[in-house]
Amino acid sequence: MLAVGWGWLTDARPSPVASQLKSFWFCRRHQPHRRCRSLRMGEFKVHRVRFFNYVPSGIRCVAYNNQSNRLAVSRTDGTVEIYNLSANYFQEKFFPGHESRATEALCWAKGQRLFSAGLNGEIIEYDLQALNIKYAMDAFGGPIWSMAASPSGSQLLAGCEDGSVKLFQITPDKIQFERNFDRQKSRILSLSWRPSGTHIAAGSIDYISVFDVKSGSAIHKMLVDRQYMGVSKRKCIIWGVAFLSDGTVISVDSAGKVQFWDSATGTLVKNHLVANADVQSIAVSDQEDSFVVGTAEGTVFHFQLVSVTSNSSEKQWVRTKPFQHHTHDVRAVAHSPTALISGGTDTHLVIRPLMEKVEVKNYDAALRKITFPHRRLISCSKKKQLLLFQFAHHLELWQLGSTVATGKNGDTLPLSKDADHLLHLKTKGPENIICSCISPCGSWIAYSTASRFFLYRLSYERDNISLQRVSKMPAFLRSALQILFSEDSAKLFVASNQGSLHIIRLLEGSFKHLHTFQPQSGTVESMCLLAVSPDGNWLAASGTSAGVHVYNVKNLKLHCTVPAYNFPVTALAIAPSTNNLVIAHSDQQVFEYSIPDKQYTEWSRTIQKQGFHHLWLQRDTPITHISFHLKRPMHILLHDAYMFCIIDKSLPLPNDKTLLYNPLPPKNESDVIRRRTAHAFKISKIYKPLLFMDLLDERTLVAVERPLDDIIAQLPPPIKKKKFGT
C-alpha cells in the first residue's frame, strides 16, 4: 500500500483490511469488463482498468538468424516481428499483419533477407529497412505449407499443397522460379536441406521423401507408421523433418514420435516416442550435436548427441531435458548457438539459454518469456479522460468512470459513474492497424494501416457522440509507424516507415500539410518513436540505429541529435517546463538530455557515472511509456510490464548495496531512518501486468492491466492432460 507522500512499497504482507477490500475487488474481476475500480493511494486516485480485452495472436513460425543474432517471429494474424536478441530481446521491428496472409513458413536467406510463405500461395519478401513488403510472388502450386532456404542461402525451396516441391533462385532483387521436383501424391508439409545442399527431405502425410537436388527425382520414400506399434485411423502427419550432414533424417510426426532414418538406404534407424500428442516442430543446431522438438502439450524436449560411454567415440542421440514453459501447442522452435527458442499457440515467446553453452553465468542466462507487446497500444486523452485501445482490426474508445467518494490509503472506492464503452471503430479492409492515437483534447482520432491513413473528428458532449471522417488524406501518410498529436491538438505528427516525418496542421474538419522532414543522410530508416514537448516547440524522433533527432517545430529545422547508443530506444518523452528529453533504452538505461542546452543534464551524467542498480538493469521487460507531473519537475514516471516507478531527481541515487524496492518502515521507526533508506527510485509492483500507466491530472493515475489468466481463457483449446487424482 502507499503512504502519503512518495514512499512506495511492495505489499509483502498486506494488512487484513486491505486484503478484504482487495478480495472484494477481485471477485468482480470476472464480470464483463466494464468495471473500473478506483483505489486511493495517498495522494492519488488510481483508475485500475481491466477492460482492455487484449489477446495477442499465437506464434506460428520462428526463424533465427545467426549472423545478426535476430529472431523473426510470425504470428497467426500475419504479423512478423523481428527481435534483436543481443539488445536484451527487444522487439525492434515489426510488419503488420493481413487477413489473407496466413504464414506457414518463415526463413532467412543470404544477405539478411527474410522470406515467408503462406496459405495464400505467395512467397513474400520483407524489406527490413523500409519496413514494408518488397513483393509477393505467387508460386502457382496452391497453398504453400513449408519453405526452406538452402545452406548457401541462394536458393529457396517451397513445398506446396498439390504435392510439388518448387525450387526458386534468389536473385539480388527478386526470386525466380527454377524448376519443379518430382510431384508427390499429398501435400508437402515440411522440408529440410542437407547441409551439403545435395539432398532434400520432404515430409508429407504418412511418408517422407528424399530427393536428389540435381536431378529433382525422389530417391527414397520412407513410410511412417501411423501409430507407435499399432494401427490408427488418423493419418500420420509429418510436421517436421531435419536433414543432418551424415545422412540422417530426423522426423517428427503427429503420433508423438521422433524418428531417425538413414537416407542412404531409406530405412528407420531409431524410434523415440516422446509424447501422447503431436510433436509439431524441430530445430537442429548448427553444430548438429543437439536439436529441440516442441510438442502439442507444451513440452519442449532437448535431444543431444552424447557418447555411449565416457571414453568411447561412438555417439548416440539421447533425450536429455524436458522444458514445460508453454500451456498450449508449441508450433515453432529454433536453436541458436546458446539458447532454445520456442513459441506456440499460447502466444509466449520463450528463450531458454542452455547453461552448458552460456559463457558467463549471470542474469543473462535466465529464462526469458516475452508475453506483452514492446510497444504502446493504448493512448489517452487527459482532458476528457478517454482511453483509446488499439486492436488488430478495430479501435475501442472508453470513458473512464468517476467517483465522488474519498477514502484513505489502500481503499477501494465505489464508482458513481461506470466506465463507458463509447466507440467501436472497425477498420476497412483486411490489413491490421499499425498505430493509433487520440488527441489530448479528445477531439481527433487517427490511425494508420499499411495502405491508408484515417483521421476522424470526434465530438463528445453530454452523452452525444459523433464521428466524422476527414477524407482525402494524402497518400504519403499511409503506413505510418507512429502518430502523435501536439498538446494543443493543433498539429499532427506522423512518422512514416520511409524515414520521413510529416507535420500536419489540423483545422476545423480539415487539415493542411505543413512540412516533411526527410531522413538524414539519405538512408531509409524508419522512425519508430515520437515525442513532442508540451509547449509545442520541440519534436523528438528516434530511428532504429541513428541517434534521436530533435526538431524545432516553429522553425521547421533540425535542432540537434542525441548521440547514438548501441541499444534501441524503447520510450521517449519531453518534460514540460525544463524541456528535458528523457530516453529509455532496451538495456534499461535511462538518459536525460536537455534540448535547449544540447547536452546531457547533470543528473543524467551523475547516474551514468554511478551506474544503475543491478536489479534495475536485470528487469526483462522494456520501459514503454514515460510521463511527467506538471507541478513537480523533479519527478519522472515510467513503467514497464511488471512495475511502475517514479524517479525523484532530488533524492540520492541508490548504489548496488541499497535495497531497490524499499518497503516502508513501520510507523514506529524514526523519521531519520526513513529518510536514510529513501532513494530516488520509488518502485511499485502493485499493478501488474501493466500495459499502460499515465498521469491524468495532478491527483489521478490510470493503470491498464492485463491479467495473464484472461488471455489464457480466450486461447484455443489445449491438449487434455490426465493427471492422477483428478
Binding site: D11, P14, S19, K22, S23, F26, C27, R29, H30, Q31, P32, A102, L119, N120, G121, G142, P143, W145, E161, R187, K233, R234, I237, S254, N276, A277, D278, A296, T327, D329, H421, L422, L423, H424, L425, K426, T427, K428, G429, D463, N464, I465, S466, L467, Q468, R469, S471, D709, I712, A713, Q714, P716, P717, P718, I719, K720, K721, K723, G725, T726
Partner: protein, 256 residues
Amino acid sequence: MVQLRPRVSRTPASASAMVDEGQPASEEEAEHGLLLGQPSSGAAAEPLQDDEEGDSEFDEDEAPEELTFASAQAEAREEERRVRETVRRDKALLKEKRKRREELFIEQKKRKLLPDTVLEKLTTAPQTTIKKSPGKLKEVILQKKNEECEKGSDSKKTKEKVQKVQSVGHNKSYLAVRLKDQDLRDSRQEAAKAFIQNCLYGPGTNRTTVNKFLSLDNKRLPVKKAAAQFLNNAWGKIQLLALIILYTKCYFVRRW
C-alpha cells in the same frame, strides 16, 4: 377357244413415272411392266376399262418372277443410295436445327448482358471504384449514439461510387465486382485451413476446454478447490456468483 385377255398390271404405273424419273415409284412395278410385256405405247398400253377385281384370282397362279443378277444388283444399289440419301438429309436437317438453336441462345445471352459500351466503361474505370466483394463495403460500424454522421458520409461515398458506375447508363443499382481468380484461390485456401483445423482440433485429437485446463491446477493443490468457471459467456459456462466469490477469494489472496 379361250381368248386370253391382255393382262393388266396390279398397280397401273403411269407412263410419266416410267419416263421421267430414273427410278420408278417401286421396283416391282417396273418388273411387272417389263416382264408382263406391257407395251409402252399403242392401244394395248391403255389400261383396261374393266374392273380389276378379277385380277387377284389370277395372280396367285403366277409363276415366280425371274430376276437377273444385274437387275438385282442395280436394285440393291438403288436401295443403298436411297437410304444414304435419307440419312444425309436427316443429318442436314438436324444440323440446321442445332445451328438455329445455337444462334437463338447466343442472341438471348447477348440480350442478357450489358451493352458493350457499359462493359468498356467499367473495365477502364479507375481501380478505386471497383470493389472486390460487396460484403467488405460495410466496414465501419458505430455501435453507440449518433451513427448517422458517419454513415451519412460513408453512404454518400458509396453512393458516389455507385453513381459513377450508374452514370454509365444502367437503371438498377448494382456493384461491379472483379473476380481475379479469387474463387479458385480462396477455395483452396479454405480447404487448406480446414485441413489444418481438422488435424489440430478435429475429431480424434485429444483436446480439452480451457476451463478444465485451468481447473486442473485447482484440483492438485493441497487445499482442493472447485473448478474454475468463467462468468463471461463467451469464455465458458455461466457460474453462480456465490461460488466464484467464495473460491476465488482464497485463490487470489494466495497468489498475491
